[in-house]
Symmetry: C2
Subunit: 276 residues, 2 copies
Amino acid sequence: MLPINQIILGDCGEVLKGFPENSVDLIVTSPPYADSRKNTYGGIHPDDYVQWFLPNAAEFQRVLKPSGTFILNIKEKAVDGERHTYVLELILAMRKQGWLWTEEFIWHKKNCYPGKWPNRFRDAWERCLQFNKQRQFNMYQEAVMVPMGDWAKTRLKNLSETDKTRDPSKVESGFGKNISNWVGREQAYPTNVLHLATETANRGHSATFPYALPEWFIKLFTQEGDVVLDPFLGSGTTAQVARKLGRKYIGVEITEQYYQVAVEEMARENEQMSLL
Amino acid sequence: MLPINQIILGDCGEVLKGFPENSVDLIVTSPPYADSRKNTYGGIHPDDYVQWFLPNAAEFQRVLKPSGTFILNIKEKAVDGERHTYVLELILAMRKQGWLWTEEFIWHKKNCYPGKWPNRFRDAWERCLQFNKQRQFNMYQEAVMVPMGDWAKTRLKNLSETDKTRDPSKVESGFGKNISNWVGREQAYPTNVLHLATETANRGHSATFPYALPEWFIKLFTQEGDVVLDPFLGSGTTAQVARKLGRKYIGVEITEQYYQVAVEEMARENEQMSLL
DNA sequence: GTTCCGCATGAATCGATAG
DNA sequence: ACTATCGATTCATGCGGAA
C-alpha cells in the first residue's frame, strides 16, 4: 500500500519498490548534486551520476500516474574549468528510459552565492526539468496565475530592487508602455522563469530549496487530495508545503540526520497548527 | 586575408574557409533555429540540426584565436509536446570536436508577454552557450560590472564581528575575511543570468536579438580593436554593435534579403554618425 | 500593526601547495 | 603526473528584533 502522509527513512530506490504503480500525482525533488555533499550523501562522482540516478528514475516512472509529472531540480557544477555534462546526459538517458522531457523551467536565484574567479561569474540559476509519462498530463495553470491588480507589483518585485537600479531605462520603458494592454484583464499566466531567493535561515540542511519552489509546482500540477512524493526529502520542505496545501505527502530520506529534522519539522508545524 | 569590417554574402561554412586560422577574438551569433525559418534558411529539421551545425562549428574553431570565445545563442523548440534534444546533443558533439563548454548563460527575456498553451507557459529564456578552445581565455569582467544593491550603503556602515571573522560553515566557505575590500565599493560583478528585454522594433529579420545581448558579450570578451565575427549575421545587429564599440567586425549572411538589410543598416548608421 | 534595520548565511570555484 | 587539501575571492536576501 501507498504510505500516505508519511516520512520514510531509507534509500528511495529500494523504498519505492514497495509502492504500487501509477499511484503518485507529482514527484518534485532536488536530488543530491554530484560530488557536492560528500559528507552527507556519499558524494556521487560527476562521471558516475547518470548511472547512479537511472535506477531511481525507473522507480519514479513506475509509481507515477500516467497523468502525473516529475520535476527535477538540478544544476551541473564546474569541473576542471568546464560545466560538466552529466545533466545533459541524464536528460538523454531518461528519454531512452521512456520519459518525455516536456519542459525546462529556470529557477533564477536572486541571492546567489558570492565569489569571483578569473573565468566565470557567479552562478545564479538552476534547472527545474519537467518529465512526463505521456503527452497528456494534469496541469492547473489557473492555480499559479498572477492577479492582474498585483501584476505590476509582483513583476517589479521579481526584478528586485537591484535589477531596477541596474537597468532603469529598460524596466521603465518596457513596463510603463505595456501596462495599458493589461487594463480590464484579471489575471496573467506566469512564464517558465521563476524568480526566487534561497532561504538563508538555517533549517538544519545545507541545501534546502525555498518553500516557494515546491509550492509553485505543487499548485501547478496537483489538486487538493493528490499525492506528492519527494524521494530525496532532505529536511522536509516538500512534505511541509504539500500538507499545507491540502495534498497528501510522501517523503523518503536516506540519511538519519535529515530524516530526524524532517520528522521534527512536521511535528512542530502540526503543533503550531493545532494552536490556531 | 581576413576581411576586416566587411559584411559578406554567403554560406559561413564556405566563406570561413578563406579566413586564416586563429584570427578572430570573439564569435557571437544566433544561428537559424531548427525548422523555424523555413522560408529564409531552408528550414533545418531538428533531427538534422547537429549534423548541419558541426561542420560550421569546426570552421569557427579553426578561425578563433586560442584566447578567444564562441557565444552561441540558441533555444530548443518544443516538438511533438517535448523539448527537442538537439541543443543538448550539439553541446556533447562540440565537446567531442574539441570545444570546451565553459559556461551556460541564461538570457531572461524580461518583457515577454504571457501567452496561453494547454500544457506549457510562455517561454521567457534562451541559452547563451560559451565555448572556448582552451581554459585560459580573455575575459574583461570589469567592463560589465553593475551597480551594487542599495543594501550596501547601510550594510557596510557598521560591520559585525561575524563579518570580520566568520566561522567556517558546513560548506567551508571562508566568507568575510577581507571585508575591507568592500568599503567604498560601488559596483559588483554580474551573474550568469542576463535580464534583457527583447527588442520590439522588427528590423526586417525574423530572429533579431536585442543590441544589449551582443553588446554585453563583446564588452566582456574583447577589447577595442579586437575582431568580432557573426557567421549568421541576420540583419546585422552584431556588426553594428561591434563597430559602435570600436571593435573590428566581420559578418556573414547567406540570404540575399538579410544581407541587404544588414548592409543598408550599416550604411545608414554610418551616415548618422558622420552627421554628428 | 508597520516599518526599519542589523545581520547570518548560502548546492561556489580556482589556483597554489602539499602528499 | 595526479590527487587531495587549503586559502582567497565575493553578494543579496529574508528573518527577527527593535522602534
